[in-house]
């Protein structure tokens, strides 16, 4: 096994891990909420189109929308009950998005479509991909790119390595950690399905070495599959970023502006692998996921949550707030989204909910850039965030583009490290947005 080797990438930062609060908390299934809010867009790409009407009776797992194009996935009812309305509802991104609101009938009836097929490995790659597409799976690490699209590289791109991302480099989050410990077999099976679809003989599972129990368990379970290796990675943020992970594991550099398939790699998150297994072996759509709830709640937990469950339900189950949160974050503290409503639903990409107090989310005063170059030294993409953000400040979008703003992976290392507390990555994101807008 390759675990003896310590692997990493150039740059990055070491924020306090803060995983101790939940890493030993076994996954609990949260009682069903009274209602779920299922946004028709939980993925990157075209929104899905509702196929149910107000008043329709649905069971958990029934499709309620169909994909809006190739780069799109359907959504499913995550509880049984009645479609109460289809209306714009607050989404983690902060805007209101057309969503299907289902009121629970309290019975948790499961869709008749969900059946176990013990012979799932003999399905063809195409059949498997159709099941994945039908299950509405989108990358569960947070990026939510439709999985079936990622598994359909153009024929001229020869894929020879599939990487399973178990890095979980964001502080506080332990949902992938717990999943790797508690659903190891399913993850490995899902990984084998992915490898079969891509017809690839080499699979690498990358896990940060702050999860030795997960590494051990994944090694043990994957031992009978010689084509799969488990590799321990250095703890460094953003170890789980696609290009950085590929480099750490294979020393291949994904060309700037290109996708991992350019160097023969495809990366999938461990949660996605589990969902792939459920979809192919059980025809079970993606209707729940593991969510770390950490920060100022009475009980910090790892929960198995139905998609669409409002935040308030999670907080109530965790004993309510302990003290008053200053920020409520969906995802990790480095890249997560700050929320303003407890009615926001958990979606397919929600890896955690963090309630952070004032002293945890340092309210910071920005001072002038010292040109200290810290951001330049730690940028995992080898960019010069100070320069790009400087152009953004003066709305010089062309210059920002020439300074490679579009190569930014938005990991937030630059803002984290900046001694002048400048919102570098925010400025760069804005520059990217403006550049894209201009090019339209």
């Amino acid at each position: 096994m390759l675990t003896a080797l310590k692997r990493s990438f150039k740059g990055g930062v070491h924020p306090p891990e803060n995983k101790k609060y939940t890493e030993s908390k076994a996954i609990e299934e949260i009682p069903l909420p009274e209602k779920v809010i299922i946004p028709l867009q939980q993925h990157i790409g075209k929104p899905s189109k509702a196929i149910v009407e107000k008043g329709a009776e649905v069971k958990a797992g029934d499709p309620i929308s169909e994909a809006g194009g190739f780069v799109s996935v359907p959504c499913h009812a995550s509880i049984s009950g009645t479609v109460k309305s289809i209306e714009p509802h607050i989404h983690p991104l902060g805007e209101k998005i057309p969503s299907v609101i289902i009121e629970s009938n309290g019975e948790d009836q499961i869709s008749d479509n969900i059946t176990f097929n013990s012979d799932y490995m003999s399905l063809s790659g195409e059949e498997m991909k159709n099941l994945i597409y039908g299950a509405g799976i989108a990358g569960m690490g947070g990026a939510t790119f439709p999985t079936h699209v990622k598994l359909s590289p153009p024929p001229e791109k020869k894929i020879n390595t599939v990487i399973l991302n178990g890095a979980e480099c964001e502080p506080y989050l332990t949902s992938d950690h717990r999943l790797m410990l508690e659903n190891t077999e399913e993850i490995i099976e899902g990984f084998r399905i992915i490898m079969k679809i891509l017809d690839v003989k080499r699979g690498i599972i990358g896990i940060e070495n702050n999860k030795p129990d997960s590494i051990k368990k994944m090694e043990d379970i994957s031992a009978k599959f010689p084509e799969i290796s488990v590799v321990s990675l250095n703890v460094k943020y953003p170890q789980g970023a696609e290009k950085q992970l590929i480099y750490a594991l294979t020393k291949r550099k994904v060309p700037a502006g290109k996708l991992p398939m350019e160097v023969g790699c495809i990366v999938q998150n461990v949660g996605t692998a589990k969902a792939v297994y459920d979809a192919v072996a059980y025809k079970r759509p993606l209707i729940d996921r593991i969510v770390t709830v950490a920060g100022c709640v009475t009980y910090q937990k790892n929960l198995k949550v139905r998609i669409g469950t409002p935040l308030q339900h999670l907080i109530d189950y965790c004993g309510g707030f302990e003290g008053s949160p200053k920020k409520i974050i969906m995802g990790g503290p480095m890249m997560g989204l700050a929320l303003h409503s407890l009615d926001t639903p958990v979606i397919k990409g929600t890896s955690g909910i963090l309630m952070l107090r004032d002293d945890q989310v340092s309210a910071v005063k920005t001072t002038a850039c010292l040109n200290c170059g810290k951001c330049v030294e730690i940028c995992p993409m080898n960019l010069m965030p100070n320069i790009i953000a400087g152009f953004a400040k003066y709305e010089r979008w062309d210059d920002a583009k020439d300074a490679f703003a579009l190569d930014c992976i938005e990991c937030g290392c630059c803002s984290y490290i900046c001694p002048a507390k400048i919102t570098l990555v925010q400025n760069i994101k804005y520059a990217k947005f403006k550049i894209m807008e201009d090019s339209k």
Binding site: P325, M334, H340
Partner: protein, 341 residues
Amino acid sequence: MEDKEITQEIISVSSAPHIRGEDSTQRIMFSVVIALIPALLGSVYFFGTRALWLTFLAVITAVATEWVIQKLRKVEVTVSDGSAIVTGILLAFNLPGGVPWWLPVIGSFFAIAIGKQAFGGLGFNPMNPALLGRAFLLASWPVHMTTGWTAPLYGTKSGISTVTEATPLAALKDAIKYLNVEDKAQQSAETIAAIKGSYGNLLWGKVGGCIGETSVIFILIGALYLLYKGYINYRIPLSYIGTVALFTWIFGGVEGYFSGDPVFHVLAGGLILGAFFMATDMVTSPSSIKGQWVFGIGCGVITVIIRLVGGYPEGVSYSILLMNLTTPLLDRYLKHKPFGS
């Protein structure tokens, strides 16, 4: 709508990342102050309490000037960030021990008022304020600035016993200049030979010079602290000192190429202080990695040209000031290529 929107007072919504590192401008500046303390103690040891007095005057003036100007400009007063203290100390460190008390006061005032605040304050100054202050003093009171040397405790200004009225670099420069002048040839040759034996004094600081620049050992202790804290990196000091060593070795000798004395040139004068504490000034040095190498090499080349062929025996401050002006260009033209290109 029945959104349970939480009021602004309780919840804040802002862009990621939601956590920040511990470094701040203030922490960096006070770390630099701490790093300068060994050199300050060295200067007091070698040049007496007058060194402390000059430093005190420079710091007080720098802080007061910053405070008054920010009040007049009606902008936030930022003297607590510590940057004016750093400028004050560095300005004093660049003065001979025998200058009148008002020289550091005027120098500090100029450094902060013209060198820093006139451009908009910390982060906007194109040149190192302390060095600009020193350059101003050198141009305005050249006699004080070039003859105000005092001998160190138990030592001579030159670091060698036979020459008493010149600092090491000036002693060498004079010796080379008069090597072919008949009545001085003998003495010059002796001086050049004796300089080889002055390494110990240079390292320890028992030579004449600006009060904060003489003790290589004490300066390096502070520099190591800053390197350890990550507030300076090795690139500029290494390339600067390396370039000076290389070119003084090639061109600095009296017996043709490759007969120079790189060790002497590295240890003498203000190179070590300049390379670790002034060329590395964040605001006025490049953030591009390649730019930092070029910056250091540029400083080295200019320093050697001034030392070997220029009118002054020492060129550290002018070389850094000149290279400061290239910083925006270096950052622009030596910008990084993204990972994977």
